[in-house]
Symmetry: C2
Subunit: 180 residues, 2 copies
């Protein structure tokens, strides 16, 4: 398996919509970073690109940390492997048609697209979860199910795969999803 | 206890020396942020100031994340409550006399000073752990003990308090220390 992933570096695009729950973002970053250190030290098997909807590239954290995106999402190069959508509870009600268009296009090209915690609301608003099985942090499961009745929401699993779509439960579930 | 901490906001200074292990920093940030949300919503009991030795304020993460400091450590206002020293394995051998001077002065004024994981090497190099009981991630305990023979290093506890000095074991132990 190590050899199987070694010959092609996988581009993981982390799409961050602020204000972000810091741990939702850092958890997958740590998983991919640790995998890089363990599998082939000095020869990363994952490249991680943090892209954001923030106009100036500065990502506000819900606990007050300030982070920097590598670029605006509209500038990301195509041919990425996976997209992971990450936000925070305050950003779950974002309305951004340009972003939804980008997400739908990205979903049609990427091998996988997923969300950490309430990032599922953004996939849902983009229409990507219609008719799909999905999960989210249990505290937001009812709100997701009521707001988007076409989604089959199950608050119990740590993460759910439905085809190329992945959703995960609260915060640390992002670690489990990144490991999946 | 809630009333006891409510009447004075505690200034927590997180001193970050890059490259930082992202989770070493985010773990205490999440603990203080969550405490703020739970104890008095809308009326934070902790203020968190991320200060750094990075000249331009940009903090590189060991897993590739980029973060922003609120200011250079030399500009932090006095009268803070606690200082927590955070770095990464690559920054544990930092040599910076100005920083050690600042740390010694800070330690003489702050109610508490502590480190997450290999941040103990920075406290040690500043001379603050001489004659003290301390801990660090088990993988670095021998190196710390050999490099600084005046420190009584115990790799077993999650965190150690010796007077106003606190040290903690690897990464997630920063959560336990912040809760202490």
């Amino acid at each position: 398996m190590i050899e199987a992933v070694a010959w092609k570096r996988r581009r993981m695009v982390l799409l961050v919509v602020p204000p972000v729950e810091e741990l939702d973002l850092v958890a997958p970053v740590e998983v991919f970073g640790t995998a890089n250190r363990l599998i082939h030290p000095g020869k990363p098997v994952y490249s991680v690109e943090v892209v954001s909807s923030a106009a100036n590239g500065e990502i506000a954290g819900e606990c007050g940390l300030r982070l920097l995106a590598d670029m605006h999402y509209s500038r990301v190069e195509p041919d990425f492997d996976s997209v992971l959508v990450i936000c925070g509870t305050g950003a779950r009600l974002t309305r951004d048609r340009q972003l939804w268009n980008w997400l739908r296009t990205a979903a049609s090209h990427a091998r996988r697209i997923g969300s950490v915690c309430v990032g599922a609301f953004l996939l849902a608003e983009a229409g990507l979860l219609d008719g799909k099985n999905a999960t989210v942090h249990w505290k937001y499961a009812r709100e997701l199910a009521i707001s988007y009745p076409r989604i089959c929401v199950d608050p119990n699993p740590i993460w759910v795969q439905d085809g190329s779509l992945y959703t995960s439960a609260g915060i640390s579930a992002g670690i489990d999803l990144a490991l999946a």
